[in-house]
């Protein structure tokens, strides 16, 4: 920080200290679990569908056939999960803008949120953050056991304290900026499909 910057910093902090009102207490924050739905998977599905996302809750035994059937024209399929090979991996992208060449991107999310239908994606899952934004279509695997009730629970996830980038994504990109008519996509992914599928470790344990 140069001298001018240090002066500005101190001037702002002095002005704030001189003007801030008498201290008010910080309230206790409840997680509001009194209305938690019994079936979090069902609540998650209803929430994400409202935001134009698609949920596949039936088992998908063959991911490859599923993707070929759903995206028959896809040429570049980027897989950021060891559960699927794909035609490329995020590590093969030389520059983050190259993610725009991806037709379909497949990932695994570590958490879903029933209240909002959001999925968590951080730089840990994405590896190249732009793959969730520049790829045309996103397919996200989510273990139903990793769905939490609400946003209070969601922000307890360690990613928010450890990862440089953590995204709660809720449906494909959209905009209501023209005449209030909501359309998809806007700037980001065109579609978002969430497949409810146990994580490999959980599947082994239960299987």
């Amino acid at each position: 920080m140069n001298n001018a910057q240090a002066l500005s910093r101190n001037a702002i902090l002095d002005a704030v200290r001189g003007n801030q009102p008498a201290t008010r207490p910080m309230p206790d924050i409840s997680h509001f679990h009194t209305n938690t739905p019994a079936d979090l998977g069902d609540a998650f599905t209803k929430s994400i569908v409202r935001m134009a996302g698609v949920v596949v809750s039936d088992p998908v035994p063959d991911l490859d056939s599923f993707l070929r059937a759903k995206f028959p024209d896809a040429k570049v399929t980027c897989s950021a999960t060891p559960e699927y090979a794909g035609t490329i991996k995020p590590a093969s992208l030389n520059h983050w803008s190259e993610a725009s060449t991806i037709d379909v991107c497949i990932l695994r999310s570590p958490m879903g949120v029933a209240e909002t239908g959001s999925i968590l994606l951080s730089d840990n899952e994405l590896q190249v953050n732009t793959i969730a934004l520049l790829a045309h279509d996103l397919v996200v695997l989510l273990d139903p056991k990793q769905i939490v009730a609400n946003i209070h629970d969601a922000y307890d996830h360690p990613h928010f304290r450890l990862r440089p980038y953590s995204l709660l994504m809720t449906g494909p990109s959209g905009s209501g900026d023209i005449s209030g008519v909501v359309v998809h996509p806007a700037q980001g992914a065109k579609t978002l499909t969430v497949i409810l599928s146990p994580a490999p470790d959980n599947a082994k344990r239960t299987g």
Partner: protein
Amino acid sequence: MSAPVDQAKNAEKFLADTVHEERLDKLLWAMRMRRDAAARQVPEWEELRTLASEIKEHTLSNLSEYLIQFEVKATANGVIVHWARDAHEHNQIVYDLLAERDTKTLVKSKSMLTEECELRPFLERRGIRVTETDLGERIQQLDNQPPGHIVGPAIHKTTHDVAVLFSQKYGSDPKNEDVGYLAGVMRENTRPDFLNASAGMTGANFVVAETGAIVVATNEGNADLSANTPTLHLCSVGIEKIIPTMESLAVFIRLLARSATGDTITQYTSTFRGPRKGAAMHVILVDNGRSARLGMKRFWHSLKCIRCAACMNTCPVYRRSGGLSYGSTYMGPIGIIMMPTFEIRKYSELPFASTLNGSCSNVCPVKIDIHEQIYRWREVMEENDQIQVVKKEAMRVADKVLSHPAFYQIATATLSSALEVLPHFAIYNRLNVWTKHRDIPEAARGTFHEWYRNHRPKTNEVPAP
């Protein structure tokens, strides 16, 4: 010193065009209805509003400590933190960061703070091309207009307006008014800017002291693209946006989108704690009058605002006059109470662009006493002699009548009779601003006092249960 913005006169231009006025009114009211429906779905809604208000008041009353905590945490995360006392310092910091990397193009997501600082013209004068990447903000940029609404900057425009504008600027089909088509035109034209930009800029909805993170909420994904695609991410944020913890963030995220559009959350709700490998992240903490407002006993509560625009959507004056009529960065009820802190004379007329119906305060997710602050600003304008002569005279007469019950009874009794016999020109004239765009309703047959005298029970009668 700037002349006062004449909001009423500006609104007349908007009202003269009935297509836009009726459309905006209906559209924003529908948004207000969606907000109500979303709030009803959350049994703890009022508790959340109280919590949000208390968290903000706690934070603002300990702001210096939280700012330092944020600085320490963010720096430890690899973020470079800057401090700007005013708009010029802010703009200069941004320019210097771009210039030292010889950056000529900047992709930018929506930030009301950068509008407040007039960053875009500052950079453009110095040879940097700025592309607004929020759809509504880009529409306004292409049309050389400021935002008309803090959530939907171009919400006052029809699909026809946008189709014509895009055809002029992008060469698209002027007759195709399909919204999906128009959003596609924007996507197609903005994508190369994202891919080629060497710097991206965002604002922030929240700044978390505990983790040194900034939190950005968008539906389009344009902020995430602006921050992630280039190797330089600049984030400008007002010092009042700070909150203590991730736990407290949850309260605000539950309130924000529901209050703004009636959705449960925005499509992209992103937390940036630090730069990725090989990239740089700078956060510029901006004061620009906020620390001074913190010391205003009657007005510091406006610093609690989370920019949801619920107060605008519910305000009958805003819905009928459009955001541009306020001639200010922030508009509608929240703009009325913020703008005079920037420049009292220029915005001295704004506190009168309100019916004081209290609806703005009722929908505010952080419980700002907006309508009471509007009233207090009227008092300040009176104290500082910033009120037009006609308004002042009307208030003087009202003060006299309302403070003397006998005068009041005579006035109400004679007014209703007078309305029946007065010629049209005597009621509908230049001095009576209330009749400019509305008819006087038919007067009741008697005053309330007359009705009460005729209907009250006799003293020895027992009223029916």
